[in-house]
Symmetry: C2
Subunit: 232 residues, 2 copies
DNA sequence: TTTACAATTTTGTTGCAACAAAAATATCCG
DNA sequence: CGGATATTTTTGTTGCAACAAAATTGTAAA
């Protein structure tokens, strides 16, 4: 078995197995929109992409499929999921419950420094929108949300929310710039930060729930106007 | 042509692979308490138990670990999770959010035949308790809960709830018969069924939330009184 | 041209051996 | 005997070849 150059990037991850690294890399690519909805993934193609053998590639694909970040489209075909209205609605319902809970609990542990960090993240979102870098804006938006959710100090909950974002993430990239142009969530984010400063859990929850609902409406509208066609 | 996520339930997947079968079998054993909390699982031991090679055994272990149904207790050791107070509290919080949502939505789709089926399940719970078959009572209790949750017709949600039950399941078996003796949930279940007959979502949710909270209290108390020591 | 069917290629799965890291055991020296 | 060190065993990981099933391509007859 060969030693790979990827060790240059992360020295301290020597303990991580190739399968775990492949999983992380694939997850990142899915979230960042490298693989578009409908894209078919094969063990050997992924292995070649990541420069590993079939075993770690298969490990990564299976793990992502078991989290529903990838879905089975046939007996021997795994694809990046294509969101339809029904799935979008269900995932939004679950997101409201879980992210609402995380947002509310965040108020229990927040300290002023956390809000400062959030303000910096919000600035990054705004800058990315100004520059038209919509993929970056989406990324920073994700960072903003999870910075809040992590404050709740409920690791299981954060992990579960991540799997939900993984399921809708790919479809977001088919929708910008139309989606991002409307300055998603700026107001809701401001309200959430103010509520965090007041340690007002109910208001934090309300703000984040509004953000999720606003995103849902835009996404639903965009899905109607512009059919999301799978690639390949 | 891409496949939409909600269609996945309708697509019957081809013959089950050995890895999937191993996963199912291991999951069943964990839920039924064959492997107790703290039990260490090795690839080769599982392979021998299930009479398959190491590859499907490793697939099953990795998948269960990625769902947190098994946890890493060291660099090279996967064990059945031992519940501590903090984890129990967090999972209960998430259960309240998710199972509450499922219970409420169940009222939107319930038909009288569903309630009849629930009454039969409740009878099975009572019979098992009468006979002192506590493991059976736990099993039927699980069936009762999920029969309600499935009514919500939200497959993603049901899957997520299942992973939560998988995390606390093993520890339940360390607690009965003390745990089961108190006739868990009989009253709450009755209330839930009446609310379902009235299609009163808020009341179904309240009943199931009460059931979860009652279980949580008993579990917490039992954990305090009787330390759950890992086996081996 | 179209359709049915055979040949070929692609692809996921499975078992297994080699390897390295960790754990367990044995050994030796004070 | 005690503790440190060397040795052996256990164990997860990785790469790979063989296999069967599915998808694709090629081919020929109508």
């Amino acid at each position: 078995m060969g030693v790979h150059v990827s060790e240059l990037a992360n020295i301290d991850r020597a303990a991580e197995s190739l399968g775990d690294a492949a999983y992380r890399e694939m997850k990142e690519r899915i979230i960042r929109g490298v693989y578009r909805p409908g894209h078919k993934l094969t063990v050997r193609a992924v292995a070649q992409d990541l420069d590993v053998s079939t075993t770690p590639a298969r490990d990564a694909i299976n793990r992502l499929a078991s989290e529903a970040a990838l879905v089975y489209a046939g007996p021997k075909t795994v694809v990046v999921p294509v969101l339809d209205a029904k799935a979008l609605q269900e995932i939004t319902l679950i997101r409201l419950a879980l992210e609402g809970l995380a947002a509310q609990q965040a108020a229990e542990h927040v300290v002023p420094e956390d809000v400062e960090a959030l303000k910096i993240l919000q600035k990054k979102i705004n800058s990315a929108l100004d520059a038209g870098l919509y993929a970056d804006a989406l990324w920073h938006n994700k960072e903003f949300h999870f910075a809040i959710y992590r404050l709740a100090q409920l690791p299981h909950l954060v992990t579960m929310i991540e799997t939900l974002w993984l399921r809708i993430g790919p479809s977001l990239h088919n929708l910008y710039p139309e989606f991002a142009k409307e300055r998603f969530g700026v107001h809701n984010h401001e309200v959430a930060m103010e509520a965090l400063e007041d340690r007002d859990g109910a208001s934090v929850r309300a703000a984040m729930e509004n953000d999720i609902r606003d995103g849902y409406r835009r996404l639903k509208r965009a899905c109607r106007e512009k059919a999301i066609l799978p690639v390949q």
